[in-house]
């Protein structure tokens, strides 16, 4: 079966088919009804005439010699000339005489006893052809343009009444032609109209595809103009515009990230370049050479950290969740805290861990990657320790709420002003006061990495903080025994 791929063509074909069916159906029905009614009228007239004729012939035969109806009648005894065509047909305007209604009476043997069609230019079928078979019921027959009704009459005669119905036939014919012509015209108009309407209706699709084609990496700003569109297509246009906006954002994020990353790497490179050139510019003392090497060391360490962070981010961006396993969160937190005790001691910061009073140990299982989760807690803890002053307290609390676990890391450090709260999880974002710190080459990626990892784990991280009071970082993760089968599938 030929499958047409053009939407427009298909719409038009179906439209045409429906239109043709409607037009044909309508005209056909009309013609049928009219022609049936016309024929019925004619037949009823003939039938009535036959009835009258029956009565007249009957009375004629009765008048002529008391013959009973069973004896075949001969022409001698009856005065057939008194038979006239009934007046029911009176008043009709006729062109020719032979278009008149006529009557014919046959004897039992088929001899014409009487015929009012004698003077006709064209002989009707009754006189031209054989006598119609007669029965006690009215029988109709049509021969070309003539319609005859016949019945057995009294004295074994066959009575025939008929008429030329050419005029009616011509009338029906002209009706048929009229219906055909009008139907054709309507069909034509309908098809053209449908073609135009479908063309207009589908034009926005062309516009949409034009815009979509124009949009490329350097023209992501274009959008589809949905003002003039119909509702259905405007919906499509809106969705596409949203997709383009998301694409544009993703591109911008990508190029911003690349610019920031290259910027972050260039400064330590510049440090090394400058100091190396300086050291080689002229003979230097041992101490000066040693100092140059120390400076280069610092810069190298900084770049290494940055490269590690960037790789980590790239890895978590493309994270495969198929390696996720069920992990005891409290164990991970405890391990991380143990690791951080050395750092805490160095900064003379007090580190303590509080667990909520939950029921069973496996109430705190999450689905994830152990290494990555360790990194998240490590990053946040390290931040807390670094931002705390000597003797301050950093507390880690694990709580169990509804279907998630909440790990809070609280410090009493310098705090973060409200205007930075939304941005500290952005890549390369550093609060100004942080950047001025010497020796702490923070790259601004630590919290961005945390957020990225948590997103893959279906968790969240947020901060509450007041300057000079302290900060609380809250990490939420969905518990794995609470995930429905669909969600677990989605993670995998």
């Amino acid at each position: 079966m030929f499958r047409c791929k053009s939407l427009r063509l298909r719409i038009q074909l179906w439209h045409a088919v429906v239109l043709v069916l409607v037009v044909i159906g309508f005209s056909g029905t009309t013609y049928f009804l009219v022609s049936q009614s016309t024929l019925r009228e004619i037949d009823q007239e003939l039938e009535t005439s036959l009835k009258v004729l029956q009565i007249e012939v009957s009375s004629l035969l009765t008048i002529a010699a008391n013959a009973d109806n069973e004896t075949p009648v001969s022409s001698d005894s009856v005065d057939w000339d008194t038979l006239r065509v009934p007046q029911t047909f009176a008043g009709r305007r006729l062109r020719y005489q032979w278009e008149q209604p006529y009557l014919v009476v046959f004897s039992a043997s088929g001899i014409i006893l009487a015929s009012s069609a004698e003077g006709f230019e064209h002989q009707p079928p009754a006189t031209r052809k054989s006598m119609p078979k007669a029965s006690d019921t009215v029988t109709f027959r049509r021969d070309k343009g003539w319609r005859e009704a016949s019945q057995r009459g009294p004295g074994q005669t066959t009575l025939v009444v008929g008429r030329y119905i050419g005029a009616e036939q011509r009338g029906l014919q002209s009706l048929a032609w009229t219906l055909f012509a009008v139907g054709g015209v309507l069909l034509g108009i309908g098809l053209i109209g449908g073609w135009l309407v479908s063309k207009n209706a589908l034009r926005p699709i062309q516009r949409i595809s034009d815009v979509a084609e124009r949009i490329s990496a350097d023209r992501l700003g274009d959008r589809i103009d949905i003002e003039q569109m119909d509702d259905e297509l405007a919906g499509l246009g809106r969705v596409l515009n949203q997709t383009f906006s998301r694409l544009e954002e993703a591109f911008e994020r990508q190029s911003r990230f690349t610019a920031d990353a290259s910027h972050e790497l260039r400064t330590p490179l510049s440090v090394m370049q400058t100091h190396q050139q300086l050291a080689l510019a002229k003979p230097r003392t041992q101490d000066e050479y040693a100092e140059t090497l120390h400076v280069c060391q610092r810069a190298t360490k900084r770049m290494t950290q940055l490269v590690e962070s960037l790789l980590c981010l790239a890895r978590s961006d493309q994270s495969q969740t198929t390696d996720f396993q069920s992990i005891d969160i409290s164990q991970v937190v405890a391990d991380t805290c143990d690791r951080m005790r050395v750092l805490a001691a160095e900064h003379r910061v007090n580190l303590n861990v509080r667990s909520s009073n939950t029921a069973s140990p496996d109430a705190l299982c999450v689905l994830g990657d152990r290494g990555q989760l360790c990194q998240v807690f490590g990053n946040v803890l390290a931040n807390a320790i670094h931002h705390s002053s000597s003797g301050a307290q950093v507390s880690v609390a694990i709580a169990h709420a509804a279907n998630e676990v909440v790990i809070s890391i609280e410090d009493q450090g310098v705090g973060i002003a409200a205007e930075h709260h939304g941005k500290i999880f952005d890549r390369f974002y550093r609060v100004d006061s942080d950047r001025a710190r010497t020796g702490r080459g923070g790259s601004g990626l630590g919290l961005a990495i945390c957020r990225s990892i948590l997103v893959t784990h279906r968790g969240t991280i947020e901060v509450r903080s007041k300057p000079d009071v302290g900060s609380v970082f809250a990490i939420r993760l969905p518990l794995s025994n609470q995930l429905g089968p669909d969600e677990q599938d989605a993670i995998n």
Binding site: A259, S262, H263, E264, L265, R266, T267, L269, S270, V271, M272, Q273, T274, H275, Q277, L278, A281, K282, V295, R298, A299, D432, S433, R435, A436, T438
Partner: protein, 222 residues
């Protein structure tokens, strides 16, 4: 020449400052935009080396606010290398641009160029009688005969002094000015250092090279 260096990375800043000093410049430093702007407005430096990414006040802002009041030549340092960044920096009023990591000799050459431009001297060589000062190569030579010159050996600071006086040829240069532009806060304030250096260059370039105006300053006669 006295230069202001505004750069937040301490290692990089120390490298730049040391390079400049070894090349004979007096250098002041600032570690953030606020301090940088404050110093730049407080004093007429011969040039400013300004990093774009600064804490507290962004480098662009520093330049914008500086340009409202001063025309000090500015050399921008940045790690961003897109065309838009370069255009923006130059349009805001920087005189030149350097992308990190940069070559030290290139930094020094561009610095000299913007200083030269600010004195409206296009030709790198300045001649005073038979003494030729080449500001590009930072050398001084004496013309003995039409095709023979002797190069004179000068320490960086001595050269700096010669260059300063010669660029202001015909104008009186006060001792305070010389002091401020030859030495930075690293030195103890011994105002006769200026006299010491003037006598040194007189020894090397001839007594008539620079004239003393008692109580006022020095001048290289036209």
């Amino acid at each position: 020449m006295r230069i202001l260096t505004v750069e937040d990375d301490p290692d990089l800043r120390s490298g730049i400052v040391q390079t400049l000093r070894e090349d004979g410049y007096a250098v002041d430093q600032a570690a953030d935009g606020d301090e940088g702007l404050h110093r730049a407005l407080a004093w007429d430096y011969d040039a400013i080396i300004l990093d774009i990414m600064l804490p507290k006040l962004d480098g662009h802002q520093v330049l914008l606010q500086l340009r409202r009041r001063k025309q000090t030549p500015v050399l921008f340092l940045t790690a961003r290398d897109t065309v838009d960044d370069r255009v923006e920096g130059l349009d805001l009023g920087a005189d030149d641009y350097l992308v990190k990591p940069f070559d030290l000799s290139e930094m020094l050459a561009r610095l000299r160029s913007i200083i030269r431009r600010s004195h409206a001297i296009a030709d790198p060589t300045i001649q005073v009688n038979s003494i030729v000062v080449n500001t590009a190569s930072r050398t001084v030579s004496v013309i003995e005969s039409p095709d023979h010159s002797i190069s004179i050996e000068l320490s960086p600071r001595e050269y700096a002094l010669v260059e300063m006086l010669v660029m202001r040829r015909g104008q009186l240069v006060t001792r305070t000015y010389i002091y401020d532009h030859l030495f930075d806060d690293e030195h103890d304030s011994m105002s006769n250092l200026v006299d010491v250096y003037v006598s040194r260059i007189r020894r090397k370039l001839g007594k008539t090279f620079v004239t003393t105006r008692r109580g006022e300053g020095y001048i290289v006669p036209m």
